[in-house]
Amino acid sequence: MTAATAPRVARPKRPSRSFVGLLAFLVFAVITWWAASEEYGLNFDIPELLTNLTRGADILAEFWPPDFSVVSRTIAPLLETVQIAVIASLIGCSLALPIAFLASRVTAPNLVAYILDRSILSVVRALPDVLYAIIFVAALSIGPLPGILALILFNIAVVAKLLSETVDGVDQGPIEAARATGANRLLTVRWAVLPQVLPNYVAYSLYAFELNIRASAVLGIVGAGGIGNLINEFRRFFQYDALMVVVIEILVLVIIVEWISIWLRRRLV
């Protein structure tokens, strides 16, 4: 080395292994052991699982070919599925709008309403759609109504949460301008906030509709209307080839709704 090189700087010591990383790994390992153990957990036994799977594999053969003769029986339930999804989306997304505004710091009228609203939203979000459906079926009767109610709650939970986060991030400029003209809170929300979040609101609502279609397809399994009822029936009589038809129909329905949703999103906004 020539004299032009810099004087030798001491090499730094290697820092001790990340404590956080080790802790995280330990926590993960403990939880996994707990979940899989025989005493506390599910007794997760891979060889046993594999034997079960291979034994059950011949059941899969019964699914094919699909029994398309049942298609005529599936039309009405499928339409009911769509009806449930449409109505629940309409009511749910409409209600979600004011609830979302209450759930955002930016637009909530006071702290109490804000906290109350957010807390209720957290609670409502914690129950999945099918559990709501089970409760409403028990409370009312089987049929599409409990399904609609369950999905309305589910819708509100999803859309209000997403929308409130959007409102939180809104540009304050127009709000300031509106206040400066002397507008009250309601008008400010209507003209300064709503236009900014409208595209998102439409996107979230369409997304909620997609979720609803998928959910309402299975709600019938617990009695809340739609094609799920048929699933139970076919299941009970081990008519797997008929079941396959239903699965295919649901798949097709979901994909079609997806395309419609993309098309709508481009056109509506």
Binding site: M1, T2, R8, V9, R11, P12
Partner: protein, 259 residues
């Protein structure tokens, strides 16, 4: 010795990035390539380590053909060529040392490199590379916490850690301010002289090229239009290369050269 023989590169879209290039680069030379964007500088440099394959002609390094090399052979060739990038291309989320150790990937075992459990000998090489560019004290600092100039020096250290015979630098100072650019160019010059390493550098600024380049190559539309020393690169030469007169954008600035 690097030799291009009628080398051509035509990209799938039809762009002729390199047209029948014939060029010899002796060992230990510090060569600078200048030219407009799209003139072929990037392609030329990337052809040397095979990142861009030739579509015609041949390129040999010490007699070994690069286009003809099989994957394993190509990796061997690449391991002996260090490359420095305009945008540094460091792994931001990990330490400086781990970045430099990427230069040891070819020689380290697969298991060791996957687990970042390198042999002490490899770590020693990496540390020495960091010392050579003068930032060994940052060895355990996260790469993204460094300044642009420091990050580029990590890039140089990574190349040095390969213990290469050739160093390729694709616009190494384009993202840096003038004073830092000179520091980096001086580092490269020093490495070229002390370690007798063939150094090939793409540069955007002609004045920088003249200061540091032992030999200057001018590229235009995929063809070699100038090959000589810096002092002979005058206005006329410049017009050949750039197709227009010198403007302020083509020079880094004289005030900075003193820095």
């Amino acid at each position: 010795m690097i030799r291009f023989e009628n080398a051509s590169v035509t990209y799938p879209g039809g762009v002729h990035a390199l047209k029948n290039l014939t060029l010899e680069i002796p060992d230990g030379q510090m060569m600078v390539i200048v030219g407009l964007s799209g003139a072929g500088k990037s392609t030329l440099i990337r052809a040397i380590n095979g990142l861009v394959p030739l579509t015609g002609g041949d390129l040999t390094i010490d007699g070994v053909s690069v286009p003809g090399a099989k994957p394993k052979q190509l990796r061997e060739i690449r391991s002996r060529i260090g490359m420095i990038f305009q945008t540094f291309n460091l792994v931001n989320r990990t330490t400086v040392l781990n970045n430099v150790l990427m230069g040891r990937l070819h020689d380290a075992g697969t298991m060791r490199s996957l687990l970042a459990w390198y042999k002490p000998a490899d770590i020693e090489i990496a540390m020495r590379a960091l010392e050579r560019v003068g930032i060994v004290e940052k060895a355990y600092v996260r790469a993204s916490n460094l300044s642009g100039g420091q990050q580029q020096r990590v890039g140089i250290a990574r190349a040095l850690a390969q213990e290469p015979k050739i160093i390729l630098a694709d616009e190494p100072v384009a993202s840096l301010d003038p004073p830092t650019s000179h520091v980096v160019m001086r580092d490269l010059q020093r490495i070229n002289r002390e370690l007798n390493m063939t150094t090939i550098i793409n540069l955007h600024f002609l004045d920088l090229a003249k200061v540091y380049g032992e030999r200057i190559i001018g590229m235009r539309a995929g063809e070699l239009v100038y090959d000589g020393t810096g002092d002979k690169a005058d206005e006329n030469v410049f017009r050949d290369i750039y197709g227009r007169s010198l403007t302020a954008d083509d020079l880094m600035g004289e005030a900075a050269a003193a820095g």
